[in-house]
């Protein structure tokens, strides 16, 4: 994806990107925002997905690798980490690659952050069967 018709709006582009990258998990996040902060759902489509993920300079696989690493290191974003582990699998990362990314974060963010990340991955892998 990423190369889009030039007349496509940020919102349309973001919706397309979110569906492609995050699939059902992304749809669920947006649906959960509908009654409390529908505008925030729009921002979510437009900024990270419409503006950033659609940029041509890096492929989606690499973007998900960096996102999984960042969310693991933050240590306080477990729900988002799970969504992006799903997304990583959707865009072609293997389970082994995802566990390698998370293990590497033990060096930079400490063992507890990596442990929590690995258990988040375990949960996602089990759910997908």
């Amino acid at each position: 994806m990423t190369q889009q018709p030039t007349n496509e709006s940020r919102l349309e582009r973001g919706k397309r990107a979110l569906a492609e990258i995050d699939g059902e998990a992304g749809h669920n996040v947006v649906a959960a925002l509908a009654d409390i902060a529908p505008d925030f759902a729009t921002y979510l489509f437009e900024f990270p997905f419409g503006d950033i993920y659609c940029r041509p300079g890096l492929d989606l696989r690499s973007r998900e690798i960096s996102t999984i690493a960042a969310l693991t290191a933050m240590g306080n974003a477990s729900p988002q980490l799970k969504v992006h582990i799903e997304a990583g699998l959707n865009v072609g990362l293997t389970r082994e690659e995802i566990t390698e990314i998370i293990m590497q974060m033990a060096v930079y963010a400490g063992f507890p952050a990596a442990l929590n990340g690995l258990f988040a991955a375990k949960e996602v892998f089990a759910r997908r069967g």
């Binding site: 033990a106 060096v107 930079y108 963010a109 400490g110 063992f111 952050a113």
Partner: protein, 134 residues
Amino acid sequence: MDEKDRHRQGQSVRREVLGDVHVDRALRQRTAFSEDFQDLITRYAWGEIWTRPGLPRHTRSLLTLSMMVALNRDAEFQLHVRAAANNGVTRDEIKEVLLQTAIYCGVPAANHAFHLAVGVFQDMDREASPPPVD
């Protein structure tokens, strides 16, 4: 113990741990804006916690250092490196604490803490042997 006694006791423990130079400076810099806070930490942190008998001050210094690394509190970390020396913690023991933080807080956090600690040691050494006066 009333609050006045607690303040007095806290001030004395604070001087023993942080040193007169630091405490005198903090008191000199006290303003109407900060004095309630100075009073609070003297009674609470020093009068209530650091005075408790359940752990030796040496141990309290070690755990405080590791928490300051985990919480990324640079200035407080530097302060507690000096305090640790006053509490009988050796530089080798500080090194061991920092090595352990690498596991739980990550290598960059520990690396930064090593740099900060070295800077404090250099300052302490310089103060201990001032250059000769002409």
